[in-house]
């Protein structure tokens, strides 16, 4: 059933993208956060 490959592939692609974006955003947030004083962070 070749269909399954495409379907699984679609889900994998979607969630891999989600995970990648999430990881990159959190990581860049942390790295930037180390360089910026906490007082300047309006969300804290």
């Amino acid at each position: 059933m070749e269909d399954a490959g495409f379907i699984i592939g679609g889900y994998v692609l979607t969630f891999a993208t989600v995970a990648l974006m999430a990881w990159r955003y959190v990581r860049s947030g942390r790295k930037l956060g180390e360089r910026v004083p906490d007082e300047e962070k309006y969300w804290l």
Binding site: F6, G10, Y11, M21, V26, S28, G29, R30, R35, L44
Partner: protein
């Protein structure tokens, strides 16, 4: 210094001694909700929901495909709102511009995902990866339009210049897209006979299928909120660093780090690469 945390705080901090990132209680809540919803989505999408009468199993791809384009539309609407708020409010707060930019980034990625997953779905249902029907064509142009928006954001200059340019382009895009959609629709309606496959006919969904779709939309909406919160905050920090330069931030950090052994150079890379 006996404490590594510069702020005398009475609230319980989590054990992390390092500087805070973009995460807060808010993002944690949204993030966990998003993860739970995603798990549900996979469970329903791949598991519980039935196969479609006509499309059979390939309908399962719709449960991710539709939410991703939904997320993109949501993101671009927010971009337009942010653009408008920046341009038309007296204060001209850059926060709006950053929101617009972060949102557009996220939206663009998800349009790309939509196009690829859509191609996979198309291959299964129609036998072809691509068709020049109204929806696909407009989506492709939507993607390119916002790639252009992101390119405009990277033109350089001051943050205000960036904000002004991008908000204009952001609003123009909202004007463009309906025009493009309308013209493409009109165009493709000329070719009714050519498409054997009814691309406009949405799947007639029963309760459980609709529910799975609903879960997907909720999950990706939560995801969007989580992503945009993080990215907007990160952009605020990027702008701050641009403005103040690295020195100030390093100086503040050094002030905390004087408990560490006295290495003369900034402790950015302990291996001392220079």
């Amino acid at each position: 210094m006996t404490t590594t945390d510069p702020r005398p705080t009475s609230e319980p901090t989590d054990a992390r001694p390092a500087r805070r990132g973009t995460g807060t209680r808010g993002t944690r809540v949204v993030g966990i909700a998003a993860i739970i919803a995603m798990v549900w989505l996979v469970a329903f999408g791949l598991g519980f929901s039935p196969e479609d009468r006509d499309q059979r199993e390939s309908v399962r791809l719709l449960y991710v495909h539709v939410p991703t384009i939904w997320l993109a539309y949501l993101a671009f609407v927010v971009t337009a709102i942010g653009s408008g708020m920046y341009l038309f409010t007296k204060k001209k707060s850059l926060g709006w511009d950053r929101l617009a930019g972060a949102s557009a980034e996220i939206g663009t990625v998800f349009v790309a995902v939509t196009l690829v997953v859509g191609a996979l779905w198309g291959r299964l249902t129609w036998g072809v990866f691509w068709q020049w029907d109204a929806r696909l064509t407009t989506t492709a142009l939507l993607f390119v339009t916002y790639v252009g928006y992101l390119a405009v954001r990277r033109l350089g200059g001051t943050h205000e210049q960036r904000a002004r340019r991008s908000s204009v382009i952001g609003l123009i895009a909202v004007l463009e897209i309906p025009l493009v959609h309308w013209s493409v629709r009109l165009w493709r309606s000329l070719h009714q006979e050519a498409t054997v496959l009814d691309t406009d006919g949405d799947v007639d969904m029963d309760g459980l299928m609709l529910f799975s779709l609903f879960v997907g939309v909720i999950a990706f909406s939560l995801l969007y909120v989580w992503l945009v919160m993080h990215r907007t905050r990160a952009m605020a920090m990027e702008d701050l660093l641009d403005d103040h330069g690295l020195d100030e931030a390093l100086a503040a950090r050094r002030a905390e780090d004087d408990t560490l052994s006295a290495t003369p150079e900034p402790a950015v890379d302990p291996k001392g690469a220079s």
